[in-house]
Symmetry: C2
Subunit: 473 residues, 2 copies
């Protein structure tokens, strides 16, 4: 049996904002500033297994100017500031282990500009990905990045999120052209621009994307948009084993088929989806595909993939070409996380998320499945395997130390395995609180020292989302 | 007539390395350390109009360990270190205005690993792009980034280079997965990894790409490779005006046609190419295209583009499908820079390189052409217009103040115009010495302050390529 590691925990704090901060925030924000218990609890926890850690107060900001005001005031009084979108992150990113202000940007939800001719949009950080795509209806364009949850685009940028379309369209790293960012000292910085490429100086935009609110708070983003493909086709295919499904993915990617989506789900995920979404999909290892292109291009791609899958034992290739059928299919895929949670009522998810070079993917998943059979808790496996990225949805009763120990063990094993295979401890969730201990094993002590130097250079008081990403702060 | 600006100049220095540095370098490197005048001159100038500024000595490093040795020694004695590849940069990047050691990495030219299954390669920084592609022969893979010159991959990463394929395959920003970098204090840092995506901490790789050797010296890179497309087809099409050619580009990009290359050359560029490459292309505004995909996909793309071009007055659509014809065509395109230099024997090029949102490209080029007719020096215009990126090859006699004044005037006008159009002062050349004054106009004072803070955090002694990128240092 696996050894018992120490459980995940984050300290809870009483509200204790300095009086001048409390007074000035109340004066300016009125009811948009609150220290109530329920709103503090709502902002002090996330979708995962982390113990809640409450901020001292919440501010609902409506403009970059208001973010400047809050950060300036907090800097003056040494109060931490944690940016908050919709709270859909899963590594404790929005928790407030040192208290402070949770700066809720969900009210900054204006779409500032859609430049259809240039294929970009300027949005405030609180706009969600679905809101943006709704606003793009009729323009012939779409924004592809979809981490499942209808997260804010600011939050997605902060965690360098990706999702099912990343294999074709990249991650937030590739799709944020520019930002407006409020720095730790309250200054407003513009980074990047609307040109498609630039060699003008240090890439501050990329430094902010993935910095989890620790180097600055992004209040506005310029995002790349893409023409809606002339033809889109989706399919589901069942496999006799996880390995045959993964081999199909590897061969497809190595052939250079420009997949838009290629997703693996294991049998348990399919069972959960069927229960949750009232679908009747085969409860076996399954690939979900989506093809984008011209009608003939999509047809060619589909034939190629179907041939590969067929040789590897794939059966029941079921197509969804009508938009409503495709939507239902992908909604079922996106619901996989919540569907899995229903497998064990009252449980929480201990999330894991690793990414490896694709040549190691089959081996990594096989070894992980050998671990899964050694524990008692239910664990579903699915992911964006075209990138070599997969998740474990590890279901635990947070009050059961045995569950927590098993979850921690399995998570540590898969992360250490991914790092040993030249992969990463997180493909898309971020470090937050949960993965700080893997930063040095993955990047080495020198790189982490440099990350720390950057943090100190940009936030010398350590007030922006303190305690996140960097170990030992 | 345009006003006379001050001419570009960089001070020249006598060799004056501290004795212990000279002695230790001679001991370790023998003939690979030199302070000879001719090698100092070779390393103290670039392809452009900048006055040479000589380093005090040159070291030919053969390993990361040797780079550590040189940087450590120089840090101890306050001696600047400038990384050098093949000297093909054009904004004074490799010049040594504060003297110091030019650290020549061209001997670090080992291809460390080709991971065909994962589509990546690990190379030392001195490997050139052609060398890598030669090594990939037979693997079914290629490395697409081609800035024209056969630059080193380290140099290309340092300037965030791109070139003709960027419209499809991105720039060095998108294609460096990982680096080994020697820091200013001599420590060796690993950044990134071989996973296709990661959310694990600050994106140090992207911070280094485009940092022009001022934050660290990259000695090893892991690069993305791509499957060679099943079908490739190239074409040339002549237009009645620059504007009709540019409109063809804009409509093609807005339709989402996945062009591999789409290049504009003006009539003067074509004349230069014909003279230099003994070709008989029409001396008129011309687009060079390349299509990558399946045979039917390439055919579809070509038909779409031909239809757009035809509606806009494009004529003489000439195809090159055989590899040798395509190579000849692209060699002619790549020779455009050197071909233009031959238009005025003994001249130098005053380079410009701007990039604007594509909706502004026609307007930007038209206004630039109005400036071009106001000066006496020959100016050719060509570029990677699918990205909104174009160059002026401004030919000057460096000893003629009137030429230099006209060149500076036209360069300033086009850069200010690009910035006013939400574009960038450099799409792919970098800042070097030549474009420092545009950094604040483009990014604003706060962003440049933050760039300075990053430089100070990583190189507190200001010894890595001092004087480059940041204004006023």
């Amino acid at each position: 049996m696996p050894p018992l590691p120490s459980p995940v925990s984050s300290p809870n704090r009483a509200a204790d904002l300095p009086d001048p901060v409390r007074r000035k925030l109340a004066d300016h924000f009125g009811q948009r500033f609150s220290c109530g218990d329920s709103i503090r609890l709502q902002h002090g926890r996330d979708e995962s297994v982390h113990e809640p850690a409450l901020p001292d107060g919440i501010v609902m900001a409506h403009s970059t100017g208001e973010v400047v005001l809050v950060i300036g005031l907090c800097a003056q009084h040494g109060v931490p500031v944690i940016a908050y979108g919709v709270g859909s992150s899963v590594e404790g990113h929005v928790l407030a282990p040192s208290g402070g202000i949770s700066l809720d940007l969900s009210g900054m939800n204006r779409i500032v500009a859609i430049h259809a001719d240039d294929g970009d949009a300027v949005v405030e950080a609180g706009v969600t990905r679905k809101q943006l795509n709704d606003a793009l209806k009729g323009s012939g364009l779409f924004f592809p990045i979809d981490p499942g949850a209808d997260a804010t685009l600011g939050g997605m940028a902060a965690t360098r999120a990706s999702g099912t379309n990343a294999v074709r369209y990249g991650t937030m790293r590739d799709n944020v052209l520019a930002t407006t960012t409020v720095l730790a000292d309250g200054r407003v910085m513009k980074t990047g621009g609307r040109a498609r490429k630039s060699s003008a100086g240090y890439d501050l935009t990329r430094l902010l994307v993935g910095s989890e609110g620790t180097l600055g708070i992004m209040t506005e983003l310029t995002l790349k948009l893409y023409p809606i493909p002339e033809a889109i086709s989706a399919a589901v295919c069942t496999f006799p084993s996880i390995d045959s499904a993964v081999q199909t993915v590897i061969q497809t990617i190595q052939l250079g088929v420009p997949m838009a989506r290629i997703e693996l789900l294991d049998a348990l995920s399919l069972r959960a989806i069927n229960l949750f979404s009232k679908t009747t999909l085969a409860e076996a290892p399954t690939l979900f595909f989506e093809f984008h292109g011209s009608p003939t291009g999509v047809n060619e791609q589909a034939q190629t993939v179907q041939a590969i899958a067929g040789e590897l034992g794939g059966t029941h290739f079921a197509w969804a070409t009508r938009p409503e059928d495709r939507s239902r299919l992908w909604q079922a895929r996106h619901d996989a996380y919540f569907a899995c949670l229903q497998l064990k009522p009252g449980c929480r998810c201990f999330p894991t998320d690793v990414c490896v070079p694709i040549s190691r993917l089959a081996e990594c998943i096989a070894a992980t499945n050998e671990d899964i059979v050694r524990v008692n808790i239910p664990i579903a496996l699915f992911g964006h395997v075209g990138d070599g990225n997969f998740h474990l949805v590890v279901l635990v009763d947070r009050d059961n130390p045995r569950d927590m120990a098993e979850a921690a063990w399995i998570s540590e094993r898969v992360v250490e395995r991914a790092i040993a295979m030249e992969g990463t401890c997180t493909g898309e969730h971020g470090i937050g609180l949960g993965k700080r201990k893997y930063l040095v094993p993955e990047h080495g002590a020198v790189a982490v020292d440099i990350m720390r130097a950057l943090k100190t250079a940009l936030d010398p008081q350590n007030l922006l989302n303190p305690g996140k990403i960097l170990p030992g702060r």
